[in-house]
């Protein structure tokens, strides 16, 4: 029983991990290529979820809803890049943090203005709902398996895009030396808009996928944003590979910590105290992980020295 439970929790950790990767990939790309700290990334996640909920309510199609989340978040990303972010590249990080924090407030209140204060409904489509039986007799929700699969497909696509295509070469060149690629005749401003929209679309997709099993409400993006920052700090800022490994580490640490730490403390403590200490420590686990990684690799696992 216990090894089955462990396996199920590992799957849960993977699912959380690939979702975090979708968020963290955009964040780390934007930081790596443009040197910009984008606190409004969580708002793009929210935009994706709300767009999906609105389209799903109007058309009833989950696939259309996913497409809408990609389109809406990419469009929102492109618009804020053109309107606001573009003016911030040469400013220091504090200005960027202030401006993108203002964007969070604008997006939150704007969303409330359009959709109201009550959470929206977005559900898993019938053909993906309910549990399936995995080998070994584990009952596992089909939708979570689909999320893991979708996340891995997107991750593979992103690696191909960055490693094998012309745009990818430009992105990598942009990370390495901005002035030089501009001098070589690449339209750097267009590249920036493109990267920003791509990161936004990934965040929007994550919002829509997760929105179906969570609550689509104003402010849903900020808790995920914090986790995504932990991921890119662990993985090394600017590294997509680091974001992938970091996301899986954070997902597994958080899930396994939450499920097994209280029980572990129960072996040598009073049950009530074990629950309290275990829960408290489980909430801290990923930050302890981050501190540990930074202690030995100050630039993160795959950060460039």
């Amino acid at each position: 029983m216990s090894s089955l439970l462990l396996f199920e929790q590992v799957l849960n950790g993977l699912q959380l991990g690939v979702m975090l990767f979708l968020m963290a990939a955009g964040l780390t790309l934007i930081f790596g290529v443009m040197g910009l700290i984008n606190l409004a990334h969580g708002s793009l996640y929210m935009v994706g979820a709300f767009a999906a909920a609105a389209v799903a309510a109007a058309t009833g199609s989950f696939l259309l809803a996913l497409a809408a989340s990609l389109a809406a978040a990419a469009a929102a990303g492109a618009v804020i890049e053109l309107g606001v972010i573009r003016r911030l590249y040469d400013r220091d990080h504090l200005d960027q943090v202030l401006a993108t924090f203002a964007l969070i407030l604008i997006f939150s209140e704007g969303t409330r203005w359009i959709f109201g204060s009550f959470p929206l409904f977005l559900d898993v489509p019938d053909y993906l709902s309910g549990p399936v039986t995995l080998p070994g007799g584990i009952q596992y929700p089909l939708y979570r398996l689909v999320i893991i699969l979708a996340g891995l497909v997107v991750a593979a696509g992103l690696f191909l895009l960055i490693g094998r295509t012309r745009i990818g070469i430009q992105i990598r060149a942009g990370e390495a030396d901005r002035e030089m690629i501009a001098a070589l005749g690449i339209d750097i401003t267009r590249l920036y808009t493109l990267v920003f929209a791509l990161g936004a679309a990934l965040a929007g997709l994550a919002g829509a996928l997760v929105g179906a099993i969570q609550s689509v409400q104003v402010g849903m993006g900020e808790p995920v944003l914090i986790l995504a920052f932990v991921v890119i700090v662990i993985g090394g800022i600017g590294s997509v590979k680091g974001a992938f490994i970091g996301a899986l580490l954070v997902g597994l640490t958080d899930t396994l910590g939450r499920s097994f730490l209280p029980g572990l403390f129960g072996l040598f403590m009073e049950p009530a105290a074990a629950t309290t200490v275990g829960s408290a420590l489980a909430s801290m686990a990923i930050y302890i992980l981050m501190a540990g990684v930074l202690l030995f690799r100050p630039r993160g696992l795959f950060g460039v020295a």
Binding site: N12, S108, F118, Q214, S215, R258, S279
Partner: protein, 382 residues
């Protein structure tokens, strides 16, 4: 905000038109501090709308309401309370949703001789040792609905519950309340992170625990996430909780996943009394949505205040306090009286989530606790 603005501007216009003559001694000034922005805004908006509906129906020109948004932040709430007491000179404060904000505002407001009528938060600290003659709770003591869930679990024959709540004071009160009445064993007791939205790990534990029932307290978005994921996980144990996770404002977002769940509440839209029927109808007509329990609490709070105004002048604090304590108003929840520590004595019902046409809502299926007071009466010395 639109309603708040129009009311305060209407009040301003009235004050200007009538001049100082209308500002007679018997007018009551109410300061409402509630959550109107951010993730918890739905609750504050419902309380405000319920409260203002009652004021509007009374058509009483002697009452002025100032409404401000606390953004769910204790420091903002404290600033607003100071401003309302010192520069707006309010007589009565009300509106706070969250227990931590109430703890920051209420003790100092009542110490300055203001009345505080709570339309929602009922932390145990303000019911026991920290009780105050000027503090009245018109909703419930925090533990009440959870106690009722524990009592219902006994009636339903559950013997082995898995219980979970967020790791913060109200979460601990919730599990304490449940355990106070539940006589069976606990298959597991889990505290989750506040604001957590993914419950896969906890669901796996529930599945492996061998429980025969699940009790949870996860207000707002946390509850929406939990119920959707619970339904999707294929676990088919009965679920029960307090009304906060099955409230009208969030049921539509949970969808069919909530159907059949049992929850405990001091109010439901199908409580059969004339006051409640009129309330549900007029709320729908005014705002175009079904009222929630928060709206009912706001409505009752305003009616309690109006009943006291009809009996006594606010400038005579002792008489006004006695008039409040008499609770001489038609509560939409039926019988209502104050216990010695100024918290309600009321029936707490069991509701089931059902579908009426396309609308997901609650229906009363029984009474969990009759004339329930609270566990802290004896600790209150006043």
């Amino acid at each position: 905000m639109r309603i708040a603005k129009s009311i305060s501007s209407a009040a301003l216009a009235a004050a200007l038109a009538l001049g100082a003559a209308s500002a007679q001694a018997e007018g009551v000034k109410v300061g409402m501090i509630t959550t109107l922005s951010g993730g918890g805004a739905g609750l504050g908006i419902d309380v405000r709308d319920g409260f203002m509906l009652a004021i509007k129906q009374a058509g009483d020109a002697d009452i002025e309401v100032i409404i401000e948004d606390d953004q769910r932040k204790p420091d903002v709430a404290v600033q607003l309370a100071d401003k309302m007491i010192q520069s707006d000179k309010v007589d009565v404060l009300t509106g706070i949703i969250w227990s931590n904000l109430a703890m920051a505002v209420v003790p100092s407001a009542v110490a300055q001789g203001k009345f505080y009528l709570s339309p929602n938060a009922g932390p145990s600290a303000l019911a026991g040792k920290g009780c105050n003659p000027n503090y009245f709770n018109v909703a419930w003591q925090n533990d009440n609905l959870h106690e009722a869930a524990g009592a219902y679990a006994n009636d339903a024959g559950y013997a082995n519950s898995f219980i979970l709540a967020p790791n913060y004071p109200a979460g601990k009160d919730a599990l304490t309340g449940y355990k106070r009445f539940f006589k069976g064993e606990l298959a597991g007791e889990v505290y989750t992170k506040l604001g957590q939205t993914d419950y896969a790990a906890e669901l796996a534990q529930i599945r492996a625990s061998g429980a025969d029932s699940v009790f949870f307290f996860l207000p707002g978005g946390m509850g929406i996430s939990f119920m959707k994921q619970y339904a999707d996980s294929g676990i088919d144990l009965p679920v029960l909780g307090a009304a906060f996770s099955f409230d009208q404002g969030i049921l539509q977002a949970v969808g069919d996943a909530a159907l059949g769940a049992k929850n405990t509440s001091q109010w439901s839209k199908d409580i059969d009394n004339p006051a409640n029927k009129a309330f549900v109808e007029s709320f729908q007509a005014e705002y175009g949505r079904l009222p929630s329990l928060y709206a009912s609490q706001g409505f009752d709070t305003a009616n309690l205040l109006l009943s006291a105004m009809a009996k006594a002048d606010i400038s005579d604090a002792d008489a006004f306090r006695a008039a409040l304590k008499a609770a001489d108003f038609d509560s939409v929840r039926g019988d209502f009286a104050f216990a010695p520590n100024n918290h309600p004595i009321q029936d707490i019902y069991v509701r089931e989530v059902i579908k009426e046409g396309d609308v997901i809502t609650n229906k009363i299926v029984g009474v969990a606790l009759e004339d329930r007071s609270n566990a802290y009466v004896d600790e209150c010395k006043m």
